[in-house]
Symmetry: C2
Subunit: 577 residues, 2 copies
């Protein structure tokens, strides 16, 4: 198509409210427009990109025997009450009443709808296994939408659900899907995506993986081992701390630590090592505001996800009031009010002598030995892994921490939904069982934005050809020059005859610099520049958006050159065309 007809305007200035490049570039390039907080409309350029991503996902889902279905966006609350999530999910789930005062929800994920759809179909073991998927809009009322299309409230998602008669069968299929996901990320141009073990969160189930694009703008922390293959989301990463006991015995002593509220201040004041201190972090349960105290070694941080999983319900950072049984700034495990639940992290295990709060305004203990002083002390894993930490897989102190954007996830759900929603199949012997489920998601818009974030320069996105809005971008410099216009027109026609997707810039009165700036923002991989100067020598210029190719070729050879270059770019992505 001709660029002059393309709906969507491009502009030069970086919008002030963009914290990440992909957001800024996609706004500047006329890819999308915010309709509300975390809600976007897609202009034609972005719709072309997302359509291509959808096609690739569809192909790979069909290749692992997925069958495409469609669930509704709006569902009756009953469906979510069946699974229990109507009550367990907080305000992320949009609830409303229809004209007849029936309670409805907006789909933020579709496990319930999937079970509902196949509950009758899957009554015999003979139907198993099977997988259904959809590509559909979802709404999740995020508290903090951010970073353009990376974290939004409404989004297009591919969500797949597989059903099995055994955990083994699920695991086999899970592996298939795991590989299909890797193929998808390769084909869309980000083969560098890594998988990490993750926390299953509100989805339920045990084993789950996230596909992470390592990138410093990511909001996830990824723990990687530089000595082995271990990779995990910070939320799920096991933290190993080896405290070596010096077999020294010290006495428990209550000392004044006036005005020392933080663990650093205390250790500074007492001239003791932070690594031999016990830090308290206080939370409250969302349900009844009762207190939960997490104790970790002074130089560690609490991993809220792990703590939440142990507590078994939602928690939030505490507000400690005057009448609470806690003495803010002086909380320690010894002498703590029995009204308060507490958890001691494994990082505290084996320390002979700790500094800890004395639960008394202005005082701390020194010489605290948890094994000696607290009866039946138990340790749990609730701290965040640190750079240089010990790998739970190979045991070497080789952990590093990186930022990542989650571009996909896969879960082994088990029977959480089939049990609660009473989906059963009859086995060979007639006995009834709940099928085992897996679920597999990819956010389409987030993937587009993530690719942009991974592949761009200061001038615009550098789209991989498989998902680029077009394959070739022709700039006709000086279309008022008849020969130039004719050469460009004819190449445009020829390319289209060869089924190449072309965007053609033949705008009158637009200078080369402006054309190139626009082309940079559209990020099309192959650029063809037809100009009077080169045409004098019967040549045209062909470059790639990533600057790896800059050639001046004979006009007569240009079509073939472009077709070959196109094929080569697809081949690099492991793509058959």
């Amino acid at each position: 198509m001709k660029l002059k007809n393309l709906v969507g305007q491009r502009f030069k200035e970086r919008p002030a409210d963009c914290v990440i490049d992909s957001h800024a570039l996609m706004l500047r390039g006329g890819y999308m427009k915010a309709v509300g907080n975390g809600i976007f409309s897609e202009f034609p350029v972005l719709r072309r990109v997302t359509s291509k991503i959808e096609s690739i996902i569809r192909e790979e889902m069909n290749a692992i025997d997925g069958q495409e279905v469609l669930f509704p966006v709006v569902m009756p609350a009953e469906l979510w009450q069946e699974s229990g999530r109507y009550d367990s999910i907080s305000s992320e789930l949009v609830r409303f009443q229809d004209r007849n005062k029936s309670k409805m929800v907006l789909g933020m994920t579709h496990e319930e709808a999937a079970v509902h759809l196949v509950r009758e179909y899957g009554q015999s073991y003979q139907q198993y296994p099977f997988m259904i998927y959809q590509i559909q809009r979802k709404f999740r009322d995020e508290a903090r939408p951010r970073a353009g299309m990376i974290r939004v409230r409404e989004f297009t998602m591919k969500d797949a659900y597989s059903f099995h008669t055994s955990q083994e069968d699920l695991e086999q299929y899970y592996k298939k899907c795991y590989d299909a996901y890797n193929r998808i990320f390769k084909r869309v141009g980000i083969p560098e995506v890594v998988t990490v073990a993750s926390d299953s969160g509100m989805m339920g189930g045990n084993v789950s993986h996230e596909y992470m694009l390592l990138n410093e703008v990511g909001e996830d922390s990824i723990v990687l081992c530089s000595a082995c293959d271990y990779r995990a989301n910070m939320e799920a990463a096991e933290n190993i701390v080896e405290n070596i006991s010096g077999n020294t015995v010290s006495q428990l002593e209550c000392v004044a630590t006036p005005d020392c509220k933080t663990i650093e201040e205390v250790c500074n004041f007492l001239r003791s090592d932070v690594a031999a201190s016990c830090k308290a972090v206080v939370y409250q349960k969302n349900s009844d505001d009762t207190y939960v105290v997490a104790f970790v070694r002074g130089d560690y941080e609490v991993n809220e996800t792990k703590l939440r999983n142990l507590v078994g319900e939602e928690i939030h950072p505490a507000e400690i009031t005057e009448d609470s049984p806690l003495v803010a700034g002086y909380i320690g495990p010894y002498g703590l009010s029995e009204q308060v639940d507490y958890y001691c992290d494994l990082s505290l295990k084996g320390i002979d002598s700790l500094v800890a709060g004395a639960n008394k305004e202005g005082f701390h203990f020194t010489g605290l030995n948890l094994e000696r002083d607290i009866k039946g002390i138990q340790y749990v894993d609730i701290a965040k892994v640190k750079e240089g930490g010990i790998c739970p897989c190979c045991g070497k102190p080789a952990l590093t921490i990186k930022r990542g954007i989650e571009v996909g996830n896969i879960f082994q759900l088990g029977t959480k939904y089939t049990k609660s929603m009473q989906m059963q199949y009859a086995d060979k012997d007639g006995s009834l069982h709940n099928p085992v489920m897996g679920c597999y998601g990819i956010g389409v818009g987030r993937l587009a934005a993530s690719i942009c974030e991974a592949k761009h320069d200061e001038y615009g996105p550098i789209w991989p050809i498989s998902i680029a809005p077009w394959e070739v971008h022709i700039c006709c410099i000086r279309p008022d020059d008849e020969a130039t216009k004719q050469a460009a027109d004819s190449l445009y026609e020829e390319l289209m005859k060869h089924k190449v997707e072309v965007i053609y810039d033949d705008r009158d009165g637009v200078r080369g610099g402006q054309m190139f700036a626009d082309a940079d923002l559209l990020g099309v991989p192959i650029r063809v520049i037809v100009s009077p100067r080169n045409l004098q020598n019967n040549k045209i210029e062909i470059t790639t958006r990533d600057k790896s190719v800059t050639e001046v070729v004979e006009v007569a050879d240009s079509l073939e050159y472009i077709l070959e270059l196109k094929e080569q770019l697809y081949t690099e992505l492991n793509f058959e065309i």
Copy 2:
């Protein structure tokens, strides 16, 4: 794919709550499942059909320079407040509050979103004309969802919006779209769809057309002229009545008509012609419950849409209370309380002597002559057209009335939205104007169901090949017979190599009758039956779902025969493959 792996179960019994065949057959065939009132999930079979419909629509929209975009399902209320529709649309529009108590709506149509998206882009006349469209879910909280996928609350819709600098330009484009729609309906297999002039309703604007599939289960009444090309929706059809004055003069007389509440009873009692009577139908304005009386000739019915357009606001059938200024059963235009608005239909014009209510319990007038007795009498068109009525186009008494399902609509919106939402462009001379808009919709699911309604027999749908879930259905009768299985398997492989979409039934232990019943429900146009009996003669049977072809062909010729038959079926739909 193999039928035994297809997700979705088929069954024999017609579900009790289905009033139309397409609903029953699509449930029986495993096409969809109700999730709530007017809310469905699509099984893989239907998703294949709707995907194909979407592709055809997409191709035709692109062919008229449409550019695909995507608007959100959830929008902030402000957008709809700008256009005024947040207040003007009643409970069909779902309203809710998000977690921050911001008012939101669910998109039931996207004029506001379209204007919002291109408001900045369209600031210069040079950008015009352009058309954007999306294929996206919508939610409309219908009071009475019915007939399966025909009238639902959530649906996938293609909605397109064009923008122009003049009414002439809009009209030119409107014609293009009109033709594109006809191509779409031809390609999906229902060339018999007709266009009718329609009422623009809540969309605003003046000229609009509906695409109607004439079918007795339709909920729309269509007025057609058997003498010329005139076609209109009953809601919009002009009603012409020619009363011939006999130049007789009769005296206005008030007569007792005890217990005669309906116009038929009155005329029967007075032995007068119903066609010389004046019937009153009473409504109330939704806004303040004030009364609006419609007077029509006794043998006509009120067209509420026309009346509503005249009143200029929503109305509903009246409840006449004791203290109202109206005497129920005895309402007439002469002597009617001045507190009441009334409209006299054109069907009353030119009648010398009418029977009409006397606005007095138990009494009617005879000999009423409106021109003589009511000062400044004005007539308006508020009656429904009748079978045999006069065509407003050719003037012949040749109108017929049929039922139709609306499968698409196109509107000339004018500047309703661009004005209210302050979208402007600068013309050549720098002057500012509101662009002129058109909008164009097709409901994907309704179209699928309508095609099924038009093309089915008692055993299942007879899908046109262009939108059929598969092109070929192979039934392998007795797959336990090795030769039969081998022949069927090999044909299946061959067809897939030739890019034919095949569903293959090789279920063990399923009898031929069951296989054929299932095939009928799937409605695939070409059926191939591989059986031991025919194979003995080295033959296989090839039939079409509509029974127009039943051939027994040599195994060696079968592939070619099927490929040719496939091509022929596409050609009949004017389809290039």
